[in-house]
């Protein structure tokens, strides 16, 4: 053993040196560094999880925004159609009203015209009868009294009117 260089004091010195190194490195280097590595791993895991969560949330909010947008769009569509319908109805109503009014106007005008015409005809007839009487009086000079003439002419004119109508 001695020839190989192994001697007890030297061996014990080296064992003690190595154990001291082991203890010091464990206390000074490994403990804080391993703790730091663990902490960092934890932090990274937490960070990744948070990122994942944020991503999910973003996707979710995106979806809700999309939904809301869709809703608003359909709402707008509905409003537009409604407005169009209202407008249509209003227009038709107005049109109908105007038509009615025009019709009424026309009817009134027609009846006015009819009445005027009737009145004019009556007037004409009266005037004509007077004229005829005057004429006949002049012609026959009192062969007939006025009463008898009027009756005769009325009869003639009525015949004529019914034939004309």
């Amino acid at each position: 053993m001695g020839d190989l260089g192994i001697n007890l004091p030297g061996l014990i010195t080296q064992i003690i040196s190595f154990v001291i190194l082991f203890v010091i490195l464990s206390k000074v280097l490994y403990k804080p560094l391993v703790a730091m590595l663990d902490q960092r791993a934890e932090k990274i895991t937490a960070g990744l999880e948070a990122a994942e969560r944020a991503k999910e949330e973003a996707a979710k909010s995106e979806e809700s925004i999309q939904e809301q947008l869709q809703e608003a769009r359909t709402e707008g569509q509905k409003l537009v159609t409604q407005a169009r319908e209202t407008a249509d109805r209003f227009r038709e109503e107005e049109m109908a009203k105007v038509k009615e009014e025009l019709e009424a106007e026309r009817v009134r005008a027609e009846s006015n015209i009819q009445r005027e015409r009737d009145a004019a005809i009556e007037e004409l007839r009266k005037e004509f009868a007077g004229l005829a009487i005057t004429a006949a009086e002049k012609v026959v000079k009192t062969s007939l009294d006025e009463e008898g003439h009027r009756a005769l002419i009325d009869g003639v004119l009525n015949d004529e009117g019914s034939r004309n109508n």
């Binding site: 001695g2 020839d3 190989l4 260089g5 192994i6 001697n7 007890l8 004091p9 030297g10 061996l11 014990i12 010195t13 080296q14 064992i15 040196s17 190595f18 154990v19 001291i20 190194l21 082991f22 010091i24 490195l25 464990s26 000074v28 280097l29 490994y30 804080p32 560094l33 391993v34 730091m36 590595l37 902490q39 960092r40 932090k43």
Partner: protein, 384 residues
């Protein structure tokens, strides 16, 4: 080729390289065969045990001396402790360069531990495994720095003789200067001449420059040109010329793992911890039952005994694997520097870096595997 030769700068570099190669080939041990060898030196004395740097004190278990490998061990410890203190003081969630380096290495070993030993046990095994790794790698890489094995004190002939078990040997040079007695010389000769004479006489001494009596020397190419044996030294009565000193170089620093004490110390700590974990995880009977079992008859008993022996074999193979690789590497570097100074050593320096890394990795991996094996009971193991 013409481009390289055309540029004066690359031409100069080429010429310098060729000059270094020529100087190394001609000046080394190869060139000395042709009478050149201006850098040639004899191979430094290769010694298996670590060398003593200064005297220590007596302890109940033997004399404790400061060895050169101990100094390297303490230096490596100092480096590691300073690095870890620095990392600790600048510990930050956003790591600096040094911290990143250690984080990467630790992450690698942590995942290795988890892979081999499982998640809970990994935290238990990791500190020892990683300490073994970084200590061995720092010690190994330190050992190939310049200055290791080349700067040291000069051990005189008396000390060398002492190593060769010739305890009564007296240096004739010192004898002459002290009282010049001729009677003591035959006595000295007789002391080692009886049983160790032929052995000691052929031991070679190197001749160093004597710098005003300070016994310190540094190896450089061509510094060990002269050498002589003990027999020649005796013949000259220790008188080898003015300003010269005979002896061996004892380096102040020597790679820590070229000392069996160091590798044995790490192996013992590793195996003791492995069995400590075995006992603490499986309980006393659970772990001891692997080695001494009466359950499965005489065959099982002998298998257990064989396992017990193989545990000691593991300590020995741990020790000698590390020691053998690093010691052989040092000898290889020395021989290469001897054969081809300057350039012969370069590829082997790279090889030694690699070997140092691999040995550190293998030592820590085997510790981890043994710990994982020791913490699993045999009954569990069969089911896998």
């Amino acid at each position: 080729m013409s481009k390289i030769l055309g540029s004066p700068r690359s031409l100069a570099i080429l010429i310098i390289c060729l000059g270094v190669v020529a100087a190394s080939v001609l000046g080394g041990a190869l060139g000395s065969a042709f009478g050149l060898g201006f850098f040639a030196s004899s191979l430094p004395a290769i010694q298996l045990p670590a060398e003593k740097v200064t005297d220590g004190f007596d302890t109940p278990v033997g004399k404790w001396d400061v060895m050169n490998t101990m100094i390297t061990t303490w230096l490596a410890m100092l480096v590691l402790i300073l690095i870890s203190l620095r990392i600790r003081s600048k510990l930050n969630d956003v790591p600096g360069r040094l911290q990143s380096l250690f984080e990467v290495a630790m992450e690698f070993f942590l995942s290795l531990c988890e892979q081999i030993a499982g998640k809970e046990k990994a935290r238990k095994f990791f500190p020892l495994v990683f300490t073994i790794f970084i200590f061995i790698i720092v010690a190994n890489w330190m050992g190939i720095l310049p200055g290791f094995g080349t700067v040291g004190r000069i051990a005189g002939p008396e000390e060398i003789a002492h190593h060769h078990d010739a305890h009564g040997y007296h240096d004739p040079a010192l004898e002459d200067s002290s009282h010049g007695s001729k009677e003591s010389k035959p006595k000295a000769h007789g002391a080692h001449g009886d049983d160790h004479g032929s052995h000691l006489d052929s031991v070679k001494l190197h001749v160093f420059q004597d710098y005003e009596g300070i016994p310190i020397a540094a190896l450089s190419p061509g510094s060990l040109q002269e050498e002589l044996t003990f027999a020649e030294y005796e013949e000259k009565h220790g008188d080898i010329g003015a300003g010269k000193r005979a002896g061996h170089l004892v380096p102040f620093l020597r790679s820590a793992n070229t000392d069996l004490n160091m590798s044995l110390a790490i192996a013992l700590v590793a195996m003791i911890m492995v069995h400590f974990w075995g006992f603490s995880i499986l309980g006393f009977l659970g772990h001891a039952g692997k080695f001494i079992s009466f359950k499965s008859g005489p065959i099982g008993f002998f298998v257990g005994i064989l396992e017990l022996i193989s545990e000691f074999g593991r300590v020995i193979s741990f020790t000698f694997r590390l020691f053998g690789n690093i010691f052989a590497g040092e000898v290889l570097l020395m021989a290469m520097a001897f054969l081809l100074p300057f350039i012969g050593i370069l590829p082997f320096l790279g090889l030694e870096l690699f070997v140092g890394l691999i040995q550190a990795f293998v030592f820590s991996m085997l510790t981890l595997v043994f710990a994982a094996m020791a913490s699993v009971s045999h009954d569990d193991g069969d089911h896998h």
